[in-house]
């Protein structure tokens, strides 16, 4: 799984002292603060080194390894979902084609949607945040690394269970939002909807755990001097996303559990005959659903805001305006959910309120786009692949955003809701708004993560083919939607006249596949066959992550930096440059105050343990057991309770070691 991470460049693990406490008792207390190559740096390398063997690999809680695992696993799931997308396009290329039966096709589009939204988009953005944010704010690890490790294992087990279910013909078959009567007790036949509800519980738990981890890291572990105004824009985007996740994801976990209670315990939340209501599920889901798509969009805005200054060779124009736009978009996204339900019989006045809100949210994004264009206009440009993808982002996102405004109007939505116009809009906004910036970020931070730069020529081929493929695949769908082609149909009659444009779209899909193939070749060629190593700052960027080696040492900074400007590497050297005095023999970092980042306390990061993996495994046992038997829902709670108890039980060795470095507040 961690093929990219396990690189030849990783230092050979040296034999550790048999018992740390015995060795530590007489060892002099070494403090950090000197540069690389000093005795403290060597001691830090030993302290932050991972345990050997499989147990060691399973108990890694370093934010770089976790971030990498999230991204690699997310791209693995995205590959599978992409194949499903290709299959569907192939099925719809011709009229009356019975290549795929209705049941398998329903599972395909449900799995495509569920995987892309829950198993690819959010985890990959959180993976990038986990990797980049600590480096960008100048700290050694995230605040709760074990919780993020447990979140990764939950994510992996959830994804494997969903694809295991799909492999045994039990994949969800009622769309990626599983509207209730169809996924309810009567029409949701077999265990299919149960597995979907369980996956939602998994992926939301993962999202929430990582969100709390990132929020606490950003607020409390910034380098001294990095006040809120000095924080880089990508860190602002991650903060806004994480806070939104904390307020939105509990709702869909609650909703999925209520549907599961309806199916397993016979409650009547959504049974109209016994007082329930089918629309209640739509309210619950979409109140989370719309912020969900902004969890994917706002980190991508963060990527663009991090990349443009580097390739325009100047600070971002309107930094504060972009921060305010990010925060406003975060708030407004909670007020839009009914624009997914315009075709229901909700009162008209209420719906028009949501039209106004849907139009209003376009303004902060427009402001950001204008600020970016202004930065490009005022800068000196370096036309490299990451910047190309950002330009592709402008084009594709603008079309997606404008069709979004069209969809926001109640009357027009009555014509285009649940048609291929919506399919075109969502792909333009998601591919334009998230996948293009994601590729830009991948090309941008690849040298930092792996120490080698991705090929430029292949990169440009990948960009142009992807750009043409996306537009060729999804633009015709706008027209098909207006010609009445509904969403989620596995076939259509020849008399409908939808065949020619569907064929064009299928051709576009092939071009997409070719571009993804080129990207894969570029990836493999760089990781396994490229020899020359990238420097610490190949793009000449300004933020902190470029001040450490590529790939960064396990402890990130041998001496934590002190920051005095938004682009520390570009600013003239300040008088105070780094922090000294933290322990080099236990994993220690520095917490700082929330607003002005004044040094507050020293903080001992938790040592790597196996318990997060065991806890995630026990939660898996509980959830799978609860799908098959109702008592399993209750007795299944015992394994997780035990796992979390053992996780919390203090480790005597570490307690003794940390006691040596303890100072009263």
């Amino acid at each position: 799984m961690e093929s990219v991470g396990a690189l030849p460049s990783r230092p050979r693990p040296r034999k550790r002292a048999r018992t740390r406490s015995a060795a530590a008792a007489h060892r002099p207390m070494v403090r950090d603060g000197d540069g690389p190559g000093s005795r403290a740096a060597e001691e830090l390398e030993r302290t932050w080194q991972e345990k050997p063997g499989l147990v060691g690999w399973l108990s890694i809680n370093n934010h770089k390894t976790l971030g990498l695992r999230f991204v690699v696993t997310a791209f693995f799931f995205a590959g599978l979902a992409g194949v499903m997308g290709g299959l569907m396009r192939h099925q719809l290329a011709t009229a009356n084609s019975h290549l795929l039966g209705p049941d398998f096709y329903n599972q395909l589009f449900s799995m495509h949607g569920t995987t892309m939204m829950f198993l690819f988009a959010v985890p990959v953005m959180q993976g990038f945040a986990l990797y980049i944010v600590p480096l960008m704010i100048g700290t050694r690890n995230t605040a709760f690394p074990r919780m993020s490790a447990c979140a990764y294992w939950l994510y992996l087990f959830g994804g494997l269970l969903l694809f295991g279910a799909f492999a045994t013909n039990t994949g969800p078959d009622a769309g990626w939002f599983e509207y209730v009567p169809l996924a309810g007790p009567q029409y949701g036949i077999g265990k299919r909807a149960d597995f979907w509800n369980m996956l939602v519980t998994y992926s939301e738990a993962m999202g929430l755990m990582v969100a709390v981890d990132i929020t606490t890291t950003i607020l409390k572990l910034r380098a001294p001097g990095m006040s809120l105004r000095q924080m880089p824009l990508f860190v602002w985007a991650s903060l806004v996303t994480s806070v939104m996740i904390i307020f939105a994801m509990p709702l869909v976990m609650l909703g999925a559990n209520l549907v599961q209670f309806d199916r397993m315990l016979g409650t009547h939340f959504f049974n109209p005959a016994e007082g329930g209501d089918a629309l209640l599920w739509q309210h619950l889901f979409w109140f989370f659903g719309h912020p969900e798509v902004y969890f994917i969009f706002i980190p991508a805005l963060g990527f663009v805001s991090a990349i443009i200054p580097t390739f325009a060779r100047r600070p971002m124009f309107g930094h504060d305006a972009i921060v305010l736009s990010l925060v406003t978009t975060g708030f407004l996204s909670f007020g839009l959910w009914v624009h997914h339900m315009f075709a229901t019989n909700l009162p008209e006045l209420g719906k028009s309120f949501f039209t106004a809100m849907s139009f209003m949210i376009a303004i902060p994004t427009a402001l950001q786009i204008f600020c970016w264009i202004a930065t490009i206009a005022g800068g000196r440009l370096v036309m490299r692949t990451p910047f190309l993808f950002v330009l592709g982002f402008f084009f594709v996102l603008m079309i997606g955003g404008l069709t979004g405004i069209m969809l926001g109007s109640v009357p027009l939505d009555l014509q285009v809701h649940d048609t291929y116009f919506v399919v075109a809009h969502l792909h333009y906004v998601l591919i334009g708004g998230a996948v293009f910036p994601l590729f830009a970020a991948l090309y941008y931070w690849f040298p930092k993560v792996t120490g080698k730069q991705l090929g430029e020529t292949l990169g440009k081929w990948h960009f142009w083919l992807f750009f043409i493929g996306v537009n060729l695949t999804f633009f015709p769908l706008h027209i098909l939607g207006l010609e009445g082609m509904p969403r989620r149909i596995y076939t259509y009659g020849a008399e409908t006249g939808w065949e020619p444009l569907s064929m064009v779209s299928a051709v576009g899909q092939v071009i997409n596949d070719v571009s993804t193939l080129i990207f894969a070749i570029n990836l493999i060629r760089t990781v396994f066959f490229k020899k020359e190593r990238a420097s610490a700052d190949p793009w000449g960027a300004g933020t902190l992550e470029w001040s450490v080696a590529s790939p960064p040492p396990r402890c990130n900074f041998f001496a934590l930096p002190v920051v005095s400007s938004r682009e520390p590497l570009w600013a003239p050297p300040a008088e105070v440059t780094h922090v000294q005095g933290l322990s080099a023999q236990i994993r220690e970092g520095l917490t700082t105050t929330v607003i002005d980042a004044l040094p507050d306390t020293r903080y001992a990061y938790p040592e790597p343990e196996i318990w997060p993996f065991v806890a995630a495994l026990s939660v898996t046992i509980w959830l799978v057991w609860s799908v098959w038997s109702v008592p399993g829902f209750v007795w299944g709670l015992i394994p997780p309770a035990l796992a979390f108890l053992l996780w919390y039980w203090p480790n005597k060795k570490e307690a003794k070691e940390e006691l040596r470095w303890e100072r009263e507040p």
């Binding site: 049941d103 279910a165 492999a167 045994t168 013909n169 039990t170 009567p181 309810g184 007790p185 009567q186 029409y187 949701g188 036949i189 077999g190 265990k191 299919r192 199916r263 016979g266 009547h268 959504f270 049974n271 109209p272 005959a273 016994e274 098959w628 109702v630």
Partner: protein
């Protein structure tokens, strides 16, 4: 060293067997084969109960297959409401002018072949012969559903509650009834 290796090997073997068992179990429960194996035959008129044993044996196999198939039993439940079986057997199969179907008392026996025969050829004292009116495939599904009403079918394929007024505990909530505890009624075949 070798014993540990064997133990590892056995653990891996067990895991594979468990996965395959889960897979086949899930496959059988979740298949939606809309085209039945052989198009349902309209059983000729009021053929006497002495229909060929082969046909009954085949029916038992088909009912057994549908009992483990979620789509089959839920189609059976839909047909139960469509063909108004509750008119005589009571809203949740609790009994009315016809005998109750959710208890463990079976006048003519609860095994698959007998239930199929009851529906296809009818019974004295009021059960009409539906053979000529309901295609065979639907009779198999109905028989599978009737057996799941009494808990004789596997619980994880049994249908869940309807989005309607709750008349009984849903079929998938019943703890399975042992077939051998199926008691024939005391009197000579008269419905209680």
């Amino acid at each position: 060293m070798s014993s540990r290796f064997l133990e590892l090997e056995r653990a891996r073997l067990l895991a594979v067997v468990a996965v395959v068992a889960a897979a086949t179990g899930a496959c059988q429960r979740e298949t939606r084969d809309f085209l039945p194996p052989k198009p349902g035959a309209v059983v000729a008129g009021a053929a006497s109960a002495a229909a060929s044993q082969a046909e009954i044996a085949n029916a038992a196999a088909m009912v057994g297959r549908y009992e483990h198939n979620a789509y089959g039993t839920s189609a059976g439940k839909r047909l139960w409401t469509w063909y108004n079986c509750s008119g005589c057997h009571g809203a949740g199969g609790g009994g009315g002018s016809g005998p109750a179907l959710i208890d463990d008392v079976w006048i003519y026996g609860g095994d698959a072949g007998t239930v199929y025969q009851t529906i296809a050829y009818g019974r004295p004292n009021g059960m009409p012969a539906f053979g000529s009116r309901i295609p065979k495939d639907q009779i198999w599904q109905l028989a599978a559903y009737v057996r799941s009403m009494a808990g004789l079918a596997s619980a994880d394929a049994a249908p869940n509650r309807d989005d309607a007024f709750l008349t009984r505990t849903p079929e998938s909530f019943l703890d399975p009834q042992k077939p051998e505890t199926v008691k024939p009624s005391a009197a000579g075949g008269r419905p209680q």
